[in-house]
């Protein structure tokens, strides 16, 4: 089943075209990585898909429910607030800078949204959170505040926070870019673990080797368009000079 369909997305910032007619879809259980140079539109694509940014044109559909449809001119028309709220439940997003809530401890960071948004009773929310924390090897950190954690631990907590809402799709926006190389590994390990459990994921990353290992499919973006897409093998063995050049620079 297709969990996400994006059709002909267009996005402009002050007349500058950042996304030019991009389409893609993601099947259940699929891991899709998006790579490409800075300014290629990867993050904007993710922000449009997670409704943080409004796209100018194109369609966005989650599990067959349209978040935005295109009018006759191809311009995006978003659905009602109530329906968007439902659609929000289908996905989670892990940010580059974690964006944990500093005034909440780890446990509260994870259970607050389920309790406030989905009205899950506290005990149940804590049970789910404890299970996730155990999986991510963070059980002993449940009372810590974000500032007491390393970057890698903070990013793992933010993954736990996203998982607690039991999303169908998890987006990652350069999840290791704010981490030093030593801490990158622990976060990548968690994402790999999720891939094994067949979590559907869309990952914007600069970690080429990692993308190669875990992705079912890789998209290479440049200048607001999809330059090339395919299996990791196809991308890494591509004859396309632009793609090869880019991968080479990142030591892929």
């Amino acid at each position: 089943m297709k969990l996400l369909e994006i059709k002909n997305i267009r996005k402009e910032f002050d007349g500058l075209s950042v996304l030019k007619d991009i389409s893609l879809s993601v099947e259940e259980g699929e891991v899709l990585s998006i790579i490409g140079p800075s300014g290629s539109g990867k993050s904007t694509l993710l922000r449009c898909a997670t409704l943080l940014e409004k796209m100018d044109g194109g369609e966005l559909i989650y599990l067959g429910m349209p978040a935005a449809t295109a009018d006759i001119n191809g311009n995006s028309v978003y659905t009602s607030k109530a329906e968007l709220k439902q659609i929000h439940k289908h996905f989670g997003l892990v940010f580059q800078n974690f964006n944990l809530f500093p005034h909440f401890n780890v446990m509260k960071n994870i259970i607050d949204a389920p309790m406030m948004v989905d009205k899950v009773p506290k005990e149940e929310a804590e049970k789910i959170a404890t299970k996730i924390l155990r999986q991510l090897n963070l059980e002993d950190k449940k009372d810590a505040y974000p500032f007491q954690l390393s970057g890698g631990q903070q990013q793992r907590v933010s993954i736990a926070r996203a998982l607690a809402l039991q999303p169908k799709i998890l987006f990652f926006d350069e999840p290791t870019s704010a981490l030093d190389p030593e801490l990158t590994g622990e976060v990548l390990k968690v994402i790999k673990q999720l891939a094994k459990e067949h979590m559907t994921m869309i990952i914007v990353t600069h970690e080429m080797q990692f993308a190669r290992e875990i992705s079912d499919r890789i998209i290479f973006m440049d200048g607001g368009v999809i330059c090339q897409q395919g299996t990791p093998e196809e991308i890494f063995m591509t004859p396309n000079d632009r793609v090869r050049d880019f991968i080479g620079k990142f030591g892929g």
Binding site: L52, F101, P102, H103, F147, L165
Partner: protein
């Protein structure tokens, strides 16, 4: 010098001073938050009105504002000044003035919260109200505590401006006694009172700041 009379007069003035202080804070702290929303509003009319309001409140002497609030209704509309209006006018003027300063403090606090906090809350499904109350406001309060302390200390001393419409607060009482008895002592006592009052305020605020130090 009649020390008993001195203590009695200063004490009643002290009560008025504390009343002005407490009532001003109770009303101006929440009002300031509302005004800061207006200041940040996208609606240009609301935005301009609040901006103008703040600039008048900050740009003219509080003493003048007290006079205007007290005499304004009579001079402009010919409404006779009722008995208890003197004290109400003082509180009204102080609240309107301090809310303007607090509004700017809140605004700076709200604008200093990283955009990522709003985005994280949005993706997690929080409503706008939930985001503000649960995520943003607690962090804002922590950040604005030091400048709020500053304003609060200024307020303690500003209460003496109420003398301009002959409210018998602490300083007025001290001045009257000093003039009547030709002695400097009451003014020194008043000074000591303001100092101790502010010491308490500063200590209280410091304790509050420490309490919020459990996170960064």
């Amino acid at each position: 010098m009649n020390y008993f009379a001195l203590v009695q007069q200063l004490a009643s003035g002290m009560v008025v001073t504390v009343e002005i202080f407490v009532l001003t804070l109770i009303f101006s702290l929440p009002l300031g938050l509302v005004i800061s929303f207006g200041r940040m509003a996208k609606n240009p009319v609301i935005h301009l009105i609040t901006k103008f309001y703040i600039s008048i409140m900050r740009g003219t002497p509080l003493m003048l504002q007290i006079i205007v609030v007290y005499f304004g209704p009579y001079l402009v509309f010919g409404i006779p000044l009722p008995q208890g209006y003197r004290f109400i006018a003082v509180i009204l003027a102080f609240v309107l003035n301090y809310a303007a300063y607090f509004a700017e403090i809140y605004r700076s606090g709200i604008e200093s919260i990283p955009k990522g906090q709003y985005e994280a809350a949005k993706v997690l499904g929080y409503s706008k109200a939930q985001t503000f109350i649960r995520i943003i406001l607690p962090q804002v309060l922590k950040r604005v505590l030091p400048p709020i302390t500053n304003e609060t200390i200024t307020l303690v001393k500003d209460t003496s401006l109420a003398f301009v419409i002959t409210i018998a607060e602490m300083f007025t009482a001290a001045k009257q006694f000093a003039a009547a008895e030709s002695t400097f002592v009451p003014l020194l006592v008043a000074g000591l009172f303001y100092y101790i009052f502010n010491l308490l305020v500063a200590t209280g605020m410091e304790t509050l700041e420490k309490k919020l130090n459990y996170y960064r």
